[in-house]
Amino acid sequence: MTNKTLRQWSWVHKWSSLVCTLFLLLLCVTGLPLIFYHEIEHVLGNAVEAPEIEGPASSASLDAIVAKARAYFPDKHLQYLSWDEEEPELVYAGLGEQLDSAGDNNRFLALDARTGETLGEVPFQGTFMFYVYRLHVDIFAGLPGKLFLGFMGLLFVVAIVSGVVVYGPSMRKLDFGDVRHHRPRAVRWLDLHNLLGIVLAAWMIVVGGTGVINTWADLVFQYWRNNQLTEMLGAHKDNPRPKTPSSLEAAIKTARDKLPGMTPSFVAFPATAYSSSGHYTVFMHGETPLTSRLLQPVVIDAATGAFTDTREMPWYVMTLLVSQPLHFGDYGGMPLKILWAVLDVITIVVLVTGLYLWFRRRRPSAANRFADEAEIGRRYTGAPAE
């Protein structure tokens, strides 16, 4: 690599990092509790637990559950019912201000799948995890906030790639893993930044890149709804919303019969963001850690209860669905979550040491000028080593 190209890569690394670092710190700090979302909600008492029930397990009619959910929030609109593999005895209902309103102000209700009883609201708005979640996902700015954080994530990926490129020249006189502990902090932290940055590079690129993809989730599903879903509906695409929709219980049974071996993940009611005006969309999932994330929609006519169509998701939705577990780290049990947390904290160390190195090189104090110029400046900006 010539000195000129190295200087260019150094410039890319410096500026891509500088612009995104503060936001990345925010994302790392808020991401840490989000890894343990379920556990924290249980500890804070915000999770609804299913009561113990004697006798053989039965399951309540989903139509009764729908009626209960609507009765609990009479001025809200029922958008979704969803199920959690980990809690088979619960059904969750999501209700919004309008049928097609974005989920920002949605309320959530937990119902007993066995008795059909309402167990209570799952508090979200205004809870600790709500603020953490919004800071991580859209900094309280909706879709523009998501896209902005996605752009910061892209810069983070650029910073990692350019960091890997300048790592080589920076390590010219060092062995892998050398941290010169006896040298001034600027040198020590440069070595630490290089070591931890290169060791975590693959994980940071995957989690950063999948995070960027996740910021496009709204757009991806909107595109899917306007394209593939419309295609699946064919001549029925403009069916009006039925006044008295057909049985949801029957619709779920139809979906299960069409896709044996798959389980419902959630159902979107007619005229919501994941369905057409006249149909239920039942999203089914498989059983392995991967296929449990790969949803397949089954479209059911909500006027007649008739099966309309089912198709595998197109590549762009599949990409989004695969990128979700890889960002969340929730697909390999508690040990994977703990590893995710440790990797997250080490990423914070890489960010802080990087920020410090920039700051020190910008304003070297007299006492450290020697170290800066001799150790960092020369090697880092790519001047000849000898």
Partner: protein, 72 residues
């Protein structure tokens, strides 16, 4: 510790170990997607690898003998 000749190539000299670590961590990310049980254990091992390497080289000065040996 001293500089090795640049002629040996940047890849082998500087990037070989990082490449191995990147491959092992990527495999760790994939293993847990494939299945449960054994696949989870493999995933924890493989993703624990970059953590262990990073922490080891970062904190090894905590061993007093080593710290002295490293001083010039």
């Amino acid at each position: 510790m001293a500089a090795t000749p640049v002629r040996r190539g940047l890849l082998g000299r500087t990037y070989l170990k990082p490449l191995v670590i990147a491959l092992v961590s990527s495999a760790g990310l994939l293993f847990a997607l494939i299945g449960d049980g054994l696949w989870d254990y493999l995933s924890w091992l493989a993703l624990g690898f970059p953590v262990a390497i990073g922490l080891w080289f970062w904190l090894r000065r905590a061993w007093p003998g080593r710290a002295r040996a490293e001083r010039p």
